[in-house]
């Protein structure tokens, strides 16, 4: 369970406040969608959960299964079960995708006090995962994300999530830059990972993604707060009416 209480966050140099007392709880197995206009702080929220350096947490707490994430380094948070699928996955030239996956998986296992996976076991898992997502084997030998198309990068994020088996998967605008076929493949990949123990936080501008990854709850974010919470039907309402109401209301 992820619990965020009264979270206040500013950009590191203190010039701008982005999150203003945000509260959000995501239960085990729940898929929560966060929607909201540009600049409402959605991506910031995902970065702060994962522990990116560029922000200053002024107040509040983030608990994952009762553990205080704010006291942990980004790699410790990952080992604790936080996975962030990046909106713009980074390129690591010269590091074969396979090498990276193995390093990440074993680092997390080490972080949890588990043994490293044997190479045959690891290969089996990667191959099975890659096949489901339509990732060709030769792509795994190329430098991570180097020269990958937008869709390939997003699929690679989902493959990583499948291998790392997080307790919460955060998808930061995973639908951006995807055509409809890629969107379906990625969504199926995510749906296959849904389980009673695993939660998801799906950040998106558009309702379209939520046709494929059907959420249990939808939260509207504006000016750094959750301003409304509802079921999946809320997404349709937003699609029809836009965010105009929330932008003006929250300003008041």
């Amino acid at each position: 369970m992820l619990e965020i209480r009264n979270l206040h966050v500013a950009i590191e140099d203190g010039s701008k406040k982005i999150l203003n007392g945000l509260n959000l709880t995501i239960r085990d197995g729940e898929v929560a969608a966060i929607m909201g206009p540009n600049g409402s702080g959605k991506s910031t929220l995902s970065y702060v959960i994962a522990g990116k350096d560029d922000y200053e947490v002024l107040d509040g707490e983030i608990l994952l299964d009762g553990k205080n994430l704010l006291e942990m380094e980004p790699d410790a948070r990952a080992a604790a079960g936080v996975f962030l699928a990046f909106q713009y996955p980074l390129e690591i030239p010269g590091v074969a995708t396979m090498t990276f996956l193995k390093a990440a998986l074993n680092a997390q296992r080490k972080g949890r006090g588990e043994d490293e996976l044997t190479t045959p076991d690891f290969m089996k898992r990667v191959k099975a995962g890659a096949e489901k997502l339509g990732i060709p084997q030769d792509m795994l030998k190329r430098g991570l994300n180097v020269g990958f198309s937008g869709g390939e990068k997003k699929r690679m994020e989902i493959l990583q999530m499948a291998l790392l088996e997080p307790s919460i998967g955060i998808l930061d605008e995973t639908d951006s830059g995807l055509d409809i076929d890629a969107l379906k493949i990625v969504s199926e990949g995510v749906n296959a990972l849904r389980s009673a123990k695993r939660s998801f936080l799906v950040i998106t501008h558009y309702q379209r993604l939520l046709n494929y990854i059907v959420p249990d709850t939808v939260h509207v974010m504006s000016k750094g707060q959750i301003v409304r919470t509802g079921g999946k039907e809320l997404a349709f309402e937003l699609e029809a009416n836009g965010y105009a109401d929330y932008v003006t209301n929250a300003a008041a």
């Binding site: 994962a50 350096d53 560029d54 080992a79 980074l90 680092a107 790392l164």
Partner: protein
Amino acid sequence: MVAVKETVEQVKQLDVDQYKYGFTTDLEVDKAPKGLNEDIVRFISAKKGEPQWMLDWRLDAFRRWKTMDEPQWARVHYPKIDFNDSYYYAAPKKNAAPKTLDDVDPAILDTYKKLGIPLREQEILAGVQTSKVAVDAVFDSVSVVTTFKEELKKAGVIFCSISEAIKDHPDLVKKYLGSVVPVTDNYYATLNCAVFTDGSFVYIPEGTRCPMELSTYFRINEKNTGQFERTLIIAEKGSYVSYLEGCTAPQRDENQLHAAVVELVALDDAEIKYSTVQNWYPGDADGKGGIYNFVTKRGDCRGANSKISWTQVETGSAITWKYPSCILRGDNSRGEFYSIAVSNGYQQVDSGTKMIHLGKNTTSRIISKGISAGKSQNTYRGQVSAHRKATNARNFTNCDSLLIGETCGAHTVPYLESKNASAVFEHEATTSKISEDQLFYCRQRGLSAEEATALIVNGFVKDVLQQLPMEFAVEAQKLISISLEGSVG
């Protein structure tokens, strides 16, 4: 940004403890009096029991050296060196003339053991290494032992210290010494000619493929002592040899001078592969101490279809001034230079290569990877030239720099000169930074900051690591990670 501030803080704390080879071995030593003059040159020559012609050669070099000036063109800064403030000869006393390994001072054997260099042949054979490596161990000014000599002799290969070669193979030494790097080549090379103390000599006879890797391990132990090594490798027609060189030194507050000369000669159809892992003491967190590494390395592709390949991993030294070069004299000859230069703390690196195309259809390839962290400065300096007669000369140069943090510098200084219209030179260069975003991405996947940096750096240097012999590549990879420890927040 906080991360950058942290980086700077971390680099400030850069601890000398990271240098794992900084210990000293206590030994009784036989030293020359301090200072540099003709008497010292005579002293060294006498200690080595050299013939008159060698002494004359040294004295001639010394007289010329006195008329020369230190080069100023490199992008390195250091206080003026007082050449009279050093010792030019230091040898472990007990080790006057060891006949076998059992005669070598156990303290020295122990030193090499600590450094991970096996000197006992049975240990090497029993070890995990898949291939045999013959080692010449040079301790301060003398070669203490050379392994597998007998086995190599059966193949006709001569592998011994240069001091022995001067006595036992004078004709070969006379013929080739100074034939690639002339006595007056440059300030440090000329000084080396006058005061060189030891180094390795390799001779591969015609048509012979050297049956094992050859390697020399240089260790500076004595305080205030310069090491002036001299290496000469001759590959006769159709022969092949792969040679490795490693170096370390204790941690000391004062700077120590290491001025080596390496000469390679490849005759028709011969190939020499020369690999270096240089890990001299780089100085402490405030830039105090460390080795001044002023080295002249040059290979002469003297014969047609010959090939010389330099691969270097440079992580040590306070100052590195080094340009392993190839003279492509023979038609269809080929020169290669693969380099990884890592600098951290206050290290200064000015390194690169020269590819001098003289013969027809000569080709050369340069792959240089510079990694700078801390407050270090890392310069690639390379010269590629085609002579009037070098029809169809080809060069490809790729030189990439990677910056870690905000307080280091990377510089690229290529010199290209073609006097033949048919020559084709290609030059590619990039400079990149390990971004905070890349690091965060890796850490989000569970890698620690150190692991993430090592992974990104290893990706960056992959092309060059692949050129090293297997056992060395693994070592080099570890070494690079150690050298960069503490460079990220």
